[in-house]
Amino acid sequence: MFRYILKRLIQMIPLLLIISFLGFGIIRVAEVFANADPLAQMKMSPTVTAETIRREKSRLGYETPYAESIQVSGTSYTVTKVNASAKIVDDSIVVKMKDGENLTRLGDSEKSKPLAAGEYRFENGVFTFAAADAGKQVELEYSTPNGFIVRYFKWMFQFIQGDMGESYYYKSPVSSLILSRLANTVILGIGTLLVTWLVAVPLGIYLAVRQYSLIDQISSSVSYFFMGFPDFFLAIIFLLFAAATGWFPIGEMSSIKAAQSSLPIQILDVLHHLVLPTLTLSMISIATLQRRMRANMLDILSEEYIKTARAKGLPEKKVIYKHAVRNAINPIITLLGFEIAGLVSGAAFVEIIFSWPGLGNMMLQAVLGTDLNLVMAGLIISTVMLLLGNLLADLLLAFADPRIKLEA
């Protein structure tokens, strides 16, 4: 058992590598094709200096910064920290005197102009200074652009060390952002899971036993009805319901008024907020799950051994609950894995519409704002949840059905 889990966990590592590489690649495509620039807003701000933007670029891993301190002797100086063929980002160059005074760069249009004191040129990795500045101590700063692979590995090593970087949009560490949001999403997910399974499984059993009864037909129609609903559509309808009746809060996770009072009231308040989002998510799942449970039960009930049990004269209750239910429930435990796996991302739309402060809501903002670190962390975390969910499902299945052996 333990060895099995360990093996599965180890198997996850290459998968996560491929996933993160794919995710990074997609974002890179976005940068090239869609001009998605995480620094766009910053660049638009009239007060942001070139230096700030450069620092941000190196922080986000776009560029590697270098600094050299030299004494001007002669008029030319070739940079030494990078080789001559390396491309230097043109607007990353800053040249300062020791006392902090900036030197002025002469551009291409002023090629013929002689250099005066405090001026310099830069071309192909070579700085040219004015003769008047000879002997002075000068600080050079420049950056080279990082290729995709370099950026990926840089990001990955930081990530492995637990440093998910800083969110551009929220201006705070990604890890704390994700954690606080993840908790809210998990609350919603667990609520949904509980409601779904507590309703769907008994309902499926009941309906199978009462096949073709009126209630069976009604619930089948209702299931069909909800199975066709996109979650965002159902969420809108529920939100309208809340707005029209005033029975439920309109979105959010807790209300400010309740937050001022005691803990039990705060918990009740969160539960009150939880009702509609949970209902939206479970309605659709219940419809699917209930149908599956019912179908499984019907299959089992027509099996020979059930007939035998009945023929033996076992009471009907015992036949159903002891024999049939146990066997019928096994196949749908695989589904539980999918549900657990989908806990994180499955609620995204409902979160967006109900303003639930969860991960999905944040991911949408992050994608729209090309918040690289946040998008990547969100992708990885939710994928890990998904993989763990699958593992859990397999374990549950083995637990429920002794015939299944886990191969280590």
Partner: protein, 616 residues
């Protein structure tokens, strides 16, 4: 898997049930048989007049106010705050030397008790109030003020929005301490708008000293301080409110700062309220729902949402007031830049560029903007046509600014005058024989913009122009304006000030970041070739610069009037309409003095929260 059920009828019933709510939703309409006028003339619209004087009454202590916002602050660091979501909250927590009274529009003492101006009109000497204290009990002295101006604001390593506003001829004023209570500020040239600009929040020196210079790693610690994950009691303020609770994405709670200097007339402490809360909501429609559910007590209303709240006023015990045309603008502009990018490719197709730079082309299209249609159909009468770049509520507004009435014949005539003609397919052809076609960009997800653009497209297509509509995400649009310059036509909205036209000078500075219609100043542009400017652009800038040093109100007015005429003739911005600034608040709130000069959105009533109170 699917055994045959006999529930045909039930399926039919459920399908019918899906459509039932829709039938129930159809409203029954009142009858009307008189074929009277269906429009409202904009001259009939009345706005709430400002009171003569600002005299808050004595309030009652206790209670709380709750408002909503689509976005909570991005930082608590007053110097780094850039978006209104941050500055609105910081404005409640910090004071500057002076403040603008939203009722009288006069510059009033705030942290400074008084000031004098030297005879050469360059040096202001400020005297601070005695006994000022930070919320942590430390005294607030001239040192804090000097520190704020010299080390925080005039610091290129600290990205702040205040520095630009204080520059005169690109020079930062000299701020010098005289003694603990007095300091002087000297500008290189006399400047009229300068004093009004001195409302920038003063920051505590005892907290930030030493953090504003690069440390040994070259990092400025200041820029990392007081972010959203700072402990709330570490944030020290000098204004009426201090932070009491903050939950990201949910709410922000302010409580009174015991060391706030202002007391009411009977010597009672201010603010009266015990708590001032902002909750974050998803979007503007949720804000309305929350307001209707009495969860919040005030709301800045979009024109289109008025009809929803209007019938509820009595029952909901609230009032909707109209503060006149909002100070923001909504306009279309054409990219007149002739810059080339770093590969030497022109940012705008040179064929199109000649149209966009043609004054008659722009004038023709201005004649084809159905402002009245937009007002009646999109804004349901709750907007006014806009003609000038200076807000109609501004004392410098020129009522004689040329207006381009909606007249497609005039538009066609102007185009013909400029050499454009229609071909046999009814398509507009430029003098060189090219089909007139361009992309119109605006930010996606805004249905009002979509509708406004639809009106434009319809009318412009009648002129034979093919307009390709392209909604893009806001940050991409910003990038197009600022970085790539590769847009052709754009509809965009800006916020503005209703008091001081000079604060809009960034639109007219040739290298200004808001000179959006013709970006790529040769000295700043990184590409192969910079843009070129027309004489009128310099002329407008000239008038603005002259007006900034003109202390005589009438003469100053003449300068701004002239600038409005030139701008309206050359039309860098084709203005559309100005929504009414509508605000609603519960009637049990005391000391609400709504004023368009309070600021953007809800600031029109929240500019004096220190005296707000809850009435019985």
């Amino acid at each position: 898997m699917m055994p045959a059920f006999r529930f045909r009828k039930l399926i039919g019933a459920t399908l019918a049930a899906t459509l039932l709510p829709l039938l129930a939703g159809c409203p029954t309409l009142q009858e009307d048989n008189a074929s009277a006028a269906v429009k409202i003339d904009s001259s009939q619209i009345k706005s709430l007049p400002l009171p003569e004087k600002y005299e808050p009454s004595i309030g009652k202590h206790g209670g709380m106010r709750i408002i909503s916002s689509v976005s909570l602050p991005k930082t608590f660091n007053a110097a780094l705050a850039a978006e209104t979501s941050s500055t609105d909250v910081i404005g409640q927590m910090y004071l500057g030397l002076v403040a603008t009274n939203a009722i009288t529009t006069e510059v009033e003492p705030s942290l400074a008790e008084s000031w004098t101006l030297s005879p050469d009109k360059k040096t202001y000497t400020f005297t601070l109030r005695k006994g000022l204290k930070w919320s942590d009990g430390q005294p607030l002295t001239a040192d804090d003020v000097v520190f704020t101006f010299n080390e925080v604001i005039d610091n290129k390593m600290i990205p702040n929005n205040y520095r630009d506003g204080l520059l005169i001829n690109d020079q930062f004023p000299k701020v010098v301490k005289i003694d603990d209570l007095r300091l002087s500020i000297t500008t290189p040239e006399p400047s009229v708008p300068f004093l009004r600009g001195l409302g920038d929040p003063i920051m505590p020196k005892h907290i930030f000293e030493g953090t504003t210079k690069p440390d040994k790693d070259g990092r400025i610690k200041f820029n990392q301080m007081w972010g959203l994950n700072t402990k709330i009691d570490e944030i020290v303020v000098n204004g009426p409110w201090k932070l009491a609770d903050y939950r990201p994405g949910q709410w922000l709670v302010l409580e009174p700062n015991e060391n706030y200097y202002l007391k009411d007339k009977q010597g009672g402490t201010l603010p009266y309220l015990k708590k001032f809360i902002t909750i974050e909501v998803q979007d503007q429609s949720t804000e309305i729902i929350k307001y209707m559910a009495k969860e919040t007590d005030a709301l800045s209303l979009r024109a289109e949402d008025y009809d929803v709240l209007e019938p509820l006023q009595k029952k909901g015990k609230f009032e909707i007031v109209n503060l006149g045309p909002a100070t923001g603008t909504l306009f279309v502009m054409f990219n007149m830049s002739t810059a080339q990018n770093d590969k030497g490719k022109p940012v705008v197709d040179p064929i199109k560029s000649t149209w966009f730079r043609n004054k008659y082309f722009r004038q023709a299209l201005a004649h084809a903007i159905d402002k009245e249609g937009m007002i009646q159909s999109i804004y349901k009468g709750r907007a006014l046509p806009q003609y000038s770049h200076i807000s109609q509520q501004n004392p410098f507004y020129n009522p004689n600014t040329p207006q381009y009435d909606y007249d497609l014949k005039k538009a066609a005539a102007k185009l013909a005058e400029a050499g454009f003609k229609k071909n046999s397919n009814d398509e507009l052809i430029d003098p060189q024989g090219h089909r007139v076609e361009f992309n119109l960009v605006t930010n996606s997800g805004n249905t009002m913009r979509d509708a406004a653009c639809a009106i434009l497209r319809k009318d412009w297509s009648k002129l034979g122009i093919k307009v390709n509509y392209q909604p893009v995400q806001f940050n991409i649009m910003v990038q197009q304006i600022d970085q790539t310059l590769d847009w052709e036509a754009m509809m965009i909205g800006l916020t503005g000030s209703a008091i001081e036209p000079h604060f809009g000078i960034n639109s007219w500075k040739l290298d200004g970041r808001m000179h959006m219609f013709n970006m790529g100043h040769p000295a700043e542009w990184k590409g192969k070739k910079g843009t070129s400017f027309s004489p009128w652009e310099k002329e407008v800038l000239d008038l603005y610069e002259k007006a900034a040093v003109e202390f005589d109100f009438e003469k100053r007015k003449q300068l701004y009037w002239k600038s409005q005429e030139i701008v309206a003739d050359n039309l860098p911005f084709l203005y559309t309409v100005n929504q009414l600034s509508l605000v609603t608040y519960r009637k049990n709130l005391g000391n609400i003095f709504p004023s368009i000069h309070g600021g953007s959105a809800l600031s029109v009533i929240n500019w004096n929260t220190d005296v707000h109170y809850i009435q019985e």
